[in-house]
Amino acid sequence: MDYQDIELLRFTTAGSVDDGKSTLIGRLLYDSKSIFQDQLDAVEASSKSKGFDYVDLSLLTDGLKSEREQGITIDVAYRYFATPKRKFIIADTPGHIQYTRNMVTGASTANLAIILIDARKGMLEQTHRHAFIASLLRIPHAIVCVNKMDLVEYSEDVYNGIVSDFKAFSSKLGISDIQFIPISALNGDNVVNRSENMDWYGGSTLMYHLETVHISSDHNLVDCRFPIQSVIRPHTLDNQDYRGFAGRIDGGVFKPGDKVRSLPSGFVSTIKTIELNGEQIAEAFAPMSVTMTLEDEIDNSRGDMIVRENNVPEVSQDLEVLVTWMSTKPIQARTKVVIKHTTNESIGMVKELKYKIDINTLHRIEGIDKVEMNDIARLSIRTAKPLFYDAYKKNRQTGSIIIIDEQTNETIGAGMII
């Protein structure tokens, strides 16, 4: 069956109440027939009882009671739809500055970011913010949708002006793949169907881009990284000596027969089998979950990493990271924290706060004494034991950490290793 052989694309949208984000998502879901009749009925009834004279599609995504009361998205909402070509997961996040942490959360797993610009307003502060977060989190693809084209008489000049403004700004950011599309989410122009109102636009529709953007090279296929989650030891008569390393591949391509090195021990061995549920796998790559066995008996445990013999990550106790601060409690230098990295965990100390980044202007603010919620800042962290990591720009999995409060156990920061 064809349907089973489609790829999964995760994308994020960021936007505020009035830039048409909910309308756009509603349009994608509606036109791909992913909204069910009972959901639509419920939203219609709810819109009516709130006294609206239109169907408020944001009620589809804003599921929590407090969100529905306040008419805003506070949290990341995940929505799902599929076409015959792909399955999509939308991480729908609020766009205001006080929700930077939610945007970062949604962006952390995305292959693609949709950045919405209101054609009447052009580039705003929040456009800068959304583009910066997409680049900071290294989302490989971005689509800039210039929305509400119907309200500027489908003007090519307006569109071109916004595109060149955006390009001037984004040249500083280093997003590798940016597409621009003029749309009207309300009327459906260039969303799923081509617009009849913009003959001057020769590109494709938003849905076409989502269905065809090339995502197979989004994972690192060069540097082999296999963090061990757990060791599988069946302790049964027919599997007395079985010792399998369970984990999910974070980078590279592993094959039976490959020479590998275990970290931190440094021992070298050869891959005997790669399997799942007893089925042999010829080539394993990100993001596959597998069980690996080695030719030699090596005493690996959770938190260790299997890599290629001659391609090892950084091994160090000192990290330079860009963090997004997630907690209402600010952080100062000399604070003890817990660091989670791949399947590894270590006590750490925030040694130095280097600077904050103004996410609207990209300027650095030096000489800071604390980092507060939604700030993006550069920190130096020292861990109690060595971590095996890559730069975030090289590998989004082995280059990321979360910072945990030692007392409350809450996740208080998200970091990208420089």
């Binding site: 349907y3 089973q4 999964l8 069910f36 599921g63 995940y78 799902y80 391509v253």
Partner: protein
């Protein structure tokens, strides 16, 4: 495989197995909440794959309302036997008998919310620190915002406004004494994904999911199985219908759909063209606009 891409079902499988393995590693007393429905059957299948050739390293917990379909119980016992895994049963009847829970009255009475008491009691009795379930974000709007690792305070409550952010594949299961986690490895699966994967992997399901003949009562537009647990109202009559179930809850509250679909292929075809959500037939969700969020805050699945 030459271009190093895996299809969406393999990616979802891989993600779920990663999460299940994290649960087994990060917690001391994890359990799998087994309802007998297709989602928990799928979850059990994924858990088996995650640890093969070892056995599933945690028990299954089933909260038995006493209003289950007999098919569900028979299927459960067979599966547990086959996998060689431990089963713990928490009984709602027992909670009612010893006064921990109070039975609802009236024709629409259900034991759905009573499960909360038995569930929390059972989790406490076995000192469970992580209970994994087969809930999916596409099922219901409150679930759309729930994390993979969902924190519960010492009273078993969920605070939707104060959830831990979840980034990349770094799951934070650290907790203070008395707190526990609910974990949802198949959060990102849709109903269609579940059915396609069941077909791909040839997973056995209870016969309830396939078209069959049954005596039913139609109440408020919902088709309910006629059983000893249901009190007929005036003007209601029992009709023999050709039906199947899309979800499996308790007999008195789970709505069936009229369907001729008696194979996985026909079910997938039916779902592809259906215009109502899976839980559209669940009377428990229809009690209020935020019925699910309200129950979840108290400790529901």
């Amino acid at each position: 495989m030459s271009n190093y891409v895996i299809n969406h079902l393999k990616e979802l499988e891989s993600e779920a197995i990663f999460v299940i393995r994290e649960i087994a590693s990060q917690f001391e007393n994890p359990v799998l909440l087994f309802s007998g429905g297709k989602d928990s059957i799928l979850l059990t299948h994924l858990a088996k794959k995650a640890f093969f050739p070892a056995k599933i390293p945690f028990p299954l917990i089933h909260i038995d309302t006493g209003h289950n379909f007999p098919e569900t119980i028979a299927f459960r016992d067979e599966l547990v036997e086959k996998l060689g895994v431990k089963l713990i049963v928490g009984s709602v009847q027992e909670a009612i008998d010893n006064g921990r829970a109070k039975e609802e009255t009236g024709a629409d009475a259900s034991r759905n919310s009573l499960q909360i008491v038995s569930l929390l009691d059972t989790l406490e009795a076995y000192k469970v620190d992580a209970a994994m379930g087969g809930a999916r974000r596409d099922e219901e709007k409150a679930r759309a915002k729930e994390r993979f690792f969902s924190h519960r305070d010492e009273f078993g409550q969920w605070d939707p406004k104060n959830q831990r952010p979840e980034l990349w594949n770094l799951f934070n299961g650290r907790k203070n004494y008395g707190e526990h986690f609910r974990v949802f490895p198949i959060s990102n699966w849709t109903e269609m994904d579940v059915w396609e994967y069941i077909k791909l992997e040839n997973i056995d399901l209870p016969s309830l999911y396939f078209s069959h003949q049954r005596d039913c009562v139609v109440r408020d537009g919902v088709i309910l199985a006629n059983s000893e647990f249901i009190k007929l109202k005036e003007n209601e009559e029992v009709v023999n219908m050709t039906i199947r179930y899309r979800t499996c809850g308790d007999m008195p509250i789970t709505g069936a759909v009229e369907s001729e679909a008696d194979t996985l292929d026909k079910i997938i075809e039916e779902i592809a063209t259906t215009r109502t959500t899976e839980r559209g037939g669940r009377a428990d969700d229809k009690r209020a606009e935020t019925a699910m969020e309200d129950r979840k805050k108290q400790g529901y699945f």
